[in-house]
């Protein structure tokens, strides 16, 4: 019997708002409804999942909807779980909609019991038990209680490989992730059986054989059996090795684009070599990479071995270049403070040009070499609706690129020391380098400002200047005791001569004034008698730098050489020159590049020319301390001079610097795979000599000081932070050693 609905009343609501009832109850006021429409409306309301029971009654033309809300979850308690953390379980619960405050559904509870049980089985905990109960609570709420008994884990008693003739069982089981039970294996849970790990190991076994020419290798069966007390698991793997194949012929099929002769150069194997799937895959990759350079970004090369003799096989590389691809847009993501142009100017791949895979890859390395980004990822994405256009998306994660240091100190000899310096390699995200520093104390006043624009022209011609002034009393920095005031300015330029090499040159003028003080040593006094105390020198400097380091900050691969020459040109008061050669080599030991060996070396030599026989002492090289030989005080190595006043010895440096170091870089413990930290074990060695010293100069290699230790570096927002603990190896009595050293703001 039909009737028009005058009004709708809803009863039994506690938590759910009336609005949500109306929005899912398809009946409104003034509407004609009958039994069947009412029933379907109720069914609709049920589907909202909010209610356990719905009754509809009629009072005249008023529809009374009496609902009983599904209980909501008041609390979730989990007990007995050690191997799966509670919050992982809680996440699983919340994903399935079981969260405090949410609606409770019995069906999801059972499904969850099964899911948790299955994750335990995956961990090899076969006899685990999971029971979930829901206790009703006041105000129509329910407390969920998950009672878990994880049972014990079946540990592997033996892995028995049957049918292995050419390789020993140890050799094969060593490849496996699963290991037989032993105390050290149980520490790493390696001896716990889990089905995924077994299938992973079988796959490793297959590729081990395929990489050694066993084309017909096959795993006949892998049977797992468990002891009645479910504590021990036995694995039996029966394999059929088949014959070891060698290559009888190599063929190239398909559209080779750059010609067979060019591609053959990239195939290092020849007839008679043992077939290896790994080598074939890497050859295919290098072939398609070569085609990628011609724009065939979608190229695909498959190596297909066909047995053609007793134990020989021909390998055919099927080359499908696909269509030549063009880049529509290059997009950058994540450069929230670095300007778009700073990234785009590193791109050798152009928009609207042929997509060349190695240019796209090279551009990614260039972004890494800037040192502005912790991570750089590149992704070539086809443009929907076209079959030959791609967008190249670089996503970067910015990292601090500057260092900020301010120091307030006090020392008896020079009173209050105030110092502040700001240097930023990516000045306000413009890619330009700028630094500004000032240092004021009773005896030392210095200021410097420098600015370099690495991309004055679009091809990377750089231009920069620096101005500095310093009035110092060297007492502070523990260098031989005399006063040196210096003022100067420098212009620097540089440009690339190829993808990895740059030439820089600069011209500058420096006015230096040496003043003696109470502590001045005899050598300084002699120098001042000979040369006077105030000099104006005009400098011409040049350097050649080649670097393939893969990252600007904390590199892990590649090498760098730099050769530099600074000459005080004729017309300067003191005509001298300083030349130095510096090199760095990084050898990553693993693909993840978290274990790396670094070698570094530096040689510096300075001398006078024309009517000067020596270089001025204040331009001497020094060694010791951070960035040189750790474990010895800063600048303390080399011969010393005696101050006339109190007779203590001060380092005097020298005109010949030799320095070398070896570092073994290891993953930073507990820090995961972060790229802004570095821990390494190192050996440093170095010394400065004075070739013009009065007693006949005899360079005694024994003089070279060395130290070994461990260092930790961290790129922070305030600047690169570094600690090192070093043990001097051959220090003499008079050396000033320093086991713990710390530096802020100096990357090396």
């Amino acid at each position: 019997d039909e009737f028009t609905v005058a009004d709708i009343e809803v009863e039994g609501l506690q938590r759910v708002s009336a609005g949500s009832v109306f929005s899912s109850f398809p009946v409104n006021i003034g509407q004609q409804i009958d039994e069947t429409r009412l029933a379907s409306a109720i069914k609709e309301l049920f589907r909202s999942g909010l209610f356990t029971d719905i009754e509809v009654a009629r009072d005249g033309n008023v529809l009374i909807v009496n609902v009983e809300e599904r209980p909501s979850i008041s609390s979730i308690e989990i007990e007995g779980n050690d191997n799966i953390e509670s919050d992982m379980l809680l996440d699983a619960l919340s994903d399935a909609g079981m969260q405090e405050g949410e609606v409770f559904q019995r069906a999801t509870l059972e499904r969850l019991e099964l899911e948790i049980l299955r994750s335990y089985i995956a961990q090899g905990r076969y006899n685990a038990r999971v029971t979930a109960t829901a206790e009703p609570q006041p105000q129509n709420r329910v407390a969920i209680h998950l009672d878990i008994n994880e049972g014990s884990v079946a540990s592997i008693q033996h892995i028995n490989i049957i049918g292995n003739r050419d390789f020993s069982e140890e050799e094969l089981t060593d490849l496996f992730e699963l290991r037989t039970s032993s105390w050290w294996n149980s520490l790493t849970n390696k001896d716990k059986y889990a089905r995924e790990r077994l299938s992973g190991d079988l796959e490793t076994l297959r590729s081990y054989y395929l990489d050694r020419g066993y084309l017909d290798f096959n795993v006949e069966s892998s049977q797992v059996s468990i002891s009645p007390d479910k504590q021990q698991v036995f694995i039996a793997i029966s394999i059929n090795e088949g014959k070891q194949y060698t290559i009888s012929d190599i063929r190239l099929r398909g559209d080779l684009i750059v010609g067979e002769e060019e591609l053959r150069k990239l195939i290092p194997v020849e007839e008679g070599d043992v077939f290896s799937r790994a080598k074939m895959t890497s050859i295919s990759e290098s072939l398609s990479y070569r085609l990628g350079r011609e724009g065939y970004a979608f190229a695909n090369v498959d190596a297909v071995p066909e047995p053609d003799g007793e134990d020989t096989a021909t390998v055919t590389f099927y080359v499908e270049p696909g269509k030549r691809a063009y880049v529509r847009r290059i997009n950058f993501e994540g450069n929230v403070s670095t300007k778009d142009e700073v990234l785009r100017q590193e791109m050798t791949q152009m928009e609207g040009g042929v997509a060349s895979t190695d240019r796209i890859e090279f551009s990614k390395d260039q972004l890494d070499r800037l040192g502005f980004f912790q991570t750089v990822e590149v992704d070539t994405v086809p443009v929907p609706g076209t079959d030959d256009l791609v967008d190249v998306n670089y996503s970067v994660q910015e990292q601090p690129t500057g260092s900020l240091s301010a120091s307030v100190g006090f020392s008896q000899s020079s009173g209050i020391i105030l110092g502040a310096s700001v240097s930023e390699n990516n000045f306000f995200g413009t890619g330009k380098r700028a630094s500004f520093g000032v240092n004021v104390s009773d005896s030392v006043k210095s200021a410097n400002i420098s600015y370099t624009d690495p991309y004055y022209t679009v091809d990377g011609v750089s231009r920069g200047f620096s101005v500095f002034g310093r009035q110092t009393d060297y007492d502070e920095e523990d260098i031989s005791s005399y006063l040196l005031d210096e003022y100067g300015a420098k212009l620097t330029f540089g440009y690339p001569t190829d993808a990895f090499t740059r030439i820089n040159f600069g011209l500058g003028v420096t006015q230096s004034k040496v003043k003696d003080g109470r502590y001045t040593s005899t050598e300084v006094l002699e120098f001042m008698e000979e040369e006077g105390n105030s000099f104006v020198n005009y400098f011409l400097s040049g350097s050649w730098r080649r670097s393939t380091l893969n990252r600007g900050v904390l590199p892990t691969d590649g090498y760098s050489h730099s050769l530099s020459l600074d000459v005080a040109v004729p017309g300067s008061d003191l005509t001298f020159y300083k030349t130095s050669y510096k090199t760095n080599y990084y050898f990553p030991l693993t693909d993840s590049q978290r274990w790396v060996v670094r070698l570094r070396g530096e040689i510096g030599y300075g001398d006078g020319y024309g009517d000067r026989s020596r270089m001025p002492f204040y331009e001497h090289y020094y060694a010791g301390g951070f960035g040189s030989v750790r474990g010895y005080e800063a600048n303390s190595l080399g011969n010393t001079v005696v101050s006339n006043y109190d007779g203590d010895e001060d380092p005097f440096g020298g005109n010949l610097l030799t320095e070398a170091g070896m570092e073994f870089i290891v993953p930073t413990p507990f820090a995961g795979d972060t790229r802004s930290m570095r821990t390494s074990l190192f050996v440093d060695a170095g010394q400065v000599f004075d070739t013009d010293s009065e007693p006949a100069y005899d360079p005694d290699l024994g003089e070279i000081r060395a130290a070994a230790g461990v260092s930790f570096q961290w790129i922070t927002a305030v600047g690169p932070l570094a600690f090192s603990l070093a043990k001097p190896l051959n220090d003499q009595a008079e050396d000033d050693t320093q086991v713990f050293q710390f530096s802020l703001g100096q990357t090396f």
């Binding site: 949500s20 529509r328 040009g353």
Partner: protein, 260 residues
């Protein structure tokens, strides 16, 4: 094993938390406000003040510069109160939080042109405001939301121009042409269109596609008659593509000597 009885902090009445929060909000002490609102959430999740508390939490966190927290609070509010009539406020606040999340410290105090950098979370802000305008066209936050959307879109258009100008410097004129055309096609009402049309015209001319150039100039003349590229008698003069070729001397002496 005995069920551990942690010492529950002494729980206040629902009303007191709410009043403390309200007072703190009015006096601008948003930290205290946030604490009270959090307490209200945990102890009285379904109390009378639940909805209002969740709403105030969004604002308190925004004022405390905890933009991530403010966004999360807005999401939570929208999930728990699908039918509330303050939804437009929550959506607006969510957009506002995303709008300011990436403004670094420097950008606030130094003259940095944000448009040359990636918009970052402002794209999310754009999506939030679009949702707001679609669902609540006459909400009283709609006007401000629309203004911010225009600002975001203009900024994205400016970014395209930065890329186009770089490609001109790089002498990759086809890339510059495509970037300029992208602006004209996707951001027709942004101020960047004027410069885009000029670049479009110059690059079409360079690529010897006169029709493309003429149509760009025609559109320019129609929309920006007083553009500085039109000389006195209306002819189109532009020097965007002039190649820079400074002499060595000029570069070394910072432009003092040698011809520019």
């Amino acid at each position: 094993c005995a069920s551990q009885q942690q010492d529950e902090p002494e729980v206040l009445a629902e009303k007191t938390y709410y009043e403390n929060a309200r007072e703190a909000m009015n006096s601008g002490n948003f930290n205290e406000a946030e604490e009270n609102l959090d307490a209200l959430e945990t102890y009285y999740p379904f109390g009378r003040y639940a909805e209002q508390a969740q709403l105030d939490l969004i604002y308190a966190r925004y004022q405390n510069m905890d933009l991530e927290g403010s966004r999360a609070a807005a999401d939570r509010f929208m999930r728990l109160n699908p039918q509330s009539d303050h939804l437009d406020y929550a959506l607006y606040m969510r957009g506002l939080a995303s709008y300011n999340i990436d403004l670094g410290l420097a950008a606030r105090y130094f003259p940095i042109d944000p448009s040359a950098r990636n918009p970052g979370e402002q794209l999310q802000a754009f999506r939030d405001f679009t949702q707001l305008l679609n669902r609540f066209p006459n909400s009283d936050y709609a006007l401000d939301a629309r203004q911010r959307m225009i600002a975001i879109r203009n900024r994205m258009a400016e970014l395209e121009l930065h890329a186009a100008r770089y490609y001109i410097k790089r002498e990759a004129y086809l890339a510059a042409n495509n970037r300029a055309r992208y602006v004209v096609e996707n951001y027709p009402s942004s101020p960047a269109v004027e410069e885009a049309l000029i670049l479009l015209a110059d690059t079409f001319r360079y690529l010897e596609l006169p029709e493309g150039a003429d149509s760009a100039i025609a559109t320019l003349r129609k929309n920006f008659p007083h553009s500085e590229v039109f000389d006195a008698d209306g002819n189109y003069q532009s020097d965007r593509l002039q190649r820079q070729d400074r002499s060595l001397l000029n570069v070394v002496t910072f432009g003092l000597m040698g011809e520019d």
